[in-house]
């Protein structure tokens, strides 16, 4: 049986006006299983964020195709939702109304929207902040809103594009713990793009290492750490061996 998400021979070249064309993805293949947490690490500019945008349906590839449950992606769809690195919250909307955005666009009735938002606000730990505006929130809280907004339309696949990159190191560690808790409750397939190897290992079932541009799958690592993951696992020899192995795979691809 075909994988839940299946990317085959995805090719994409950016052709910005007045500048040289950039090949972002070339013959990119990948498979993701239902309910899996898969992280993608790769050098800057390798096309990993581009691939997420293809999956999201915002960018069309030049050739190749991506299928979800066998159905070819041709645009945005409610079975997928993205959590953005820079949060992407609407500054003129309160926490509650930011979370309701997706449902509003699907023309869901107001009472239902409110009900969903209330449940998610408590899931992501923002109770009491319903009527705050984004500028009144810390970075970690903003990303909780971003996560709740993505979950509001009840997608099967959650795409996360370096969601914690704009946060400080400690907030980031706590958000990883929170994300695992929420993932356990919400049971989604997650594609998580990151630069941090230990973040990828700690969160994921598998870690995919991408080559430098144009991005291809270089190697996939199975993370056999038991779940639920504990913070202490990050200092075990097993974890560190894995980290070193992934780093050794990745470092040849990094161009500085």
């Amino acid at each position: 049986m075909a994988a839940y998400i299946q990317a085959r021979n995805v090719k994409l070249t950016f052709r910005p006006p007045n500048r040289a064309a950039v090949s972002a993805l070339d013959a990119f293949d990948m498979d993701v299983e239902d309910g899996e947490f898969l992280s993608i690490v790769g050098p800057s500019g390798c096309g990993k964020s581009t691939f997420l945008n293809v999956l999201l349906g915002l960018i069309k590839p030049d050739s190749g195709e991506v299928r979800i449950r066998g159905k070819k992606i041709s645009g945005p769809g409610s079975e997928r939702a993205m959590v953005f690195q820079e949060f992407g919250l609407l500054p003129w909307r309160t926490v509650q109304h930011n979370i309701e955005l997706g449902l509003e666009l699907k023309r869901t009735a107001a009472a239902k929207r409110r009900h969903v938002a209330e449940r998610l606000i408590s899931l992501v730990g923002l109770a009491g902040f319903e009527n705050h505006y984004p500028h009144e929130l810390s970075g970690g809280m903003k990303q909780r809103v971003g996560l709740a907004r993505a979950l509001a339309t009840d997608p099967d696949v959650l795409l996360m594009d370096e969601p914690f990159a704009a946060l400080d190191a400690q907030t980031r560690d706590l958000m990883q713990v929170e994300l695992l808790r929420i993932w356990r409750e919400a049971r989604k397939t997650v594609l998580f793009v990151t630069h941090q190897i230990d973040e990828a290992i700690y969160l994921s079932d598998r870690v995919l290492v991408m080559s430098k541009r144009p991005g291809r799958t270089k190697k996939i690592f199975d993370i056999k750490l038991p779940r639920p993951r504990e913070y202490e696992m990050r200092v075990t020899p097993e974890f560190n061996d894995l980290k070193l192995e992934i780093w050794n795979t990745l470092k040849d691809e990094i161009v500085i």
């Binding site: 820079e86 666009l105 339309t153």
Partner: protein, 268 residues
């Protein structure tokens, strides 16, 4: 999880003076200015033909208010002021959106509009009066000519500053073109329209006055120029001060409304 709102707020127990320090100091400077004006003529002999004092202006004020002339002139001037501003919004906002949203339209119109915005268009007032007459329509056109450009440029800048990420957010959640306009473009641009209004109001006041200087038989600008012609300096200043107060109230009122209505911008 503390809310990061670190704006300096005086504690509730602080005295009246420390809570209103900036307003009090500002008011004190204004009071001192008028006191110094009054005082200087205690030393220097005053030729009442050319000079006046705050006390004489105050007496002139009482005159103008009691006779109802001031209110009448203000009401007359308010009509082209309001109509001209309204026309400036109706034309300026869509044109600004077009220039900001359609790159080629922006490239094409930017130089022309910049020339108009930067030049002293009041110089065209005599010509506009010839074209459109000395009545409400002529004055309205002059107000429109000066007030439309702040709207065009602010709105165009607002459209260009729309966060592309937010557009992608709406798209990714299944939003259509209409949703992008209503849920992202409009709320993003609204503060720029109000900021444009703050500039436009000042220019519109100048336009009304100049229009009425050239050709009018009533209105606050006409009153200023007539009182000047007959050397009624006290009443002339009473009218000028009224216009100044109106200008300050309008622009400061809009500024406060901006802060109240768009709190996320104040924090940027």
């Amino acid at each position: 999880m503390a809310v990061e709102n670190l704006a300096v707020q005086p504690s509730p127990g602080a005295s009246f003076v420390s809570r209103h320090r900036s307003a009090l100091l500002g008011a004190l400077a204004v009071a001192l200015f008028f006191a110094a004006w009054q005082a200087i003529f205690l030393i220097v002999p005053l030729n009442p033909l050319f000079f006046t004092t705050p006390s004489l202006i105050a007496a002139g004020y009482v005159d103008l208010i009691e006779s109802g002339d001031l209110l009448h002139d203000l009401a007359v001037s308010a009509v082209p002021f309001g109509l001209g501003l309204l026309a400036a919004v109706i034309v300026g906002v869509p044109l600004g959106i077009l220039m900001g949203w359609r790159v080629r339209v922006g490239y094409a119109l930017d130089p022309l509009m910049t020339v108009f915005y930067a030049s002293p268009l009041v110089a065209l007032a005599p010509l506009l009066v010839i074209f459109f007459g000395v009545g409400v329509s002529g004055k309205t056109i002059i107000v429109f000519t000066l007030a439309v450009f702040p709207f065009i440029f602010n709105v165009a800048a607002g459209v260009r500053a729309v966060d592309r990420l937010l557009i992608n957010v709406v798209r990714s959640l299944g939003g259509r073109e209409r949703d992008i306009y209503l849920k992202i473009l409009f709320p993003s641009v609204l503060p720029y329209i109000v900021a444009g209004a703050r500039i436009a109001v000042g220019r519109a006041l100048i336009a009304v006055l100049v229009g009425e200087f050239f050709a009018a038989s009533e209105g606050i600008g006409y009153a200023i120029s007539r009182f000047g012609d007959i050397f009624a300096i006290d009443r002339m200043f009473a009218c000028i001060l009224t216009v100044m107060v109106i200008a300050v109230v309008l622009t400061e009122g809009i500024r406060r409304a901006e802060r109240a209505a768009f709190p996320w911008r104040a924090s940027q």
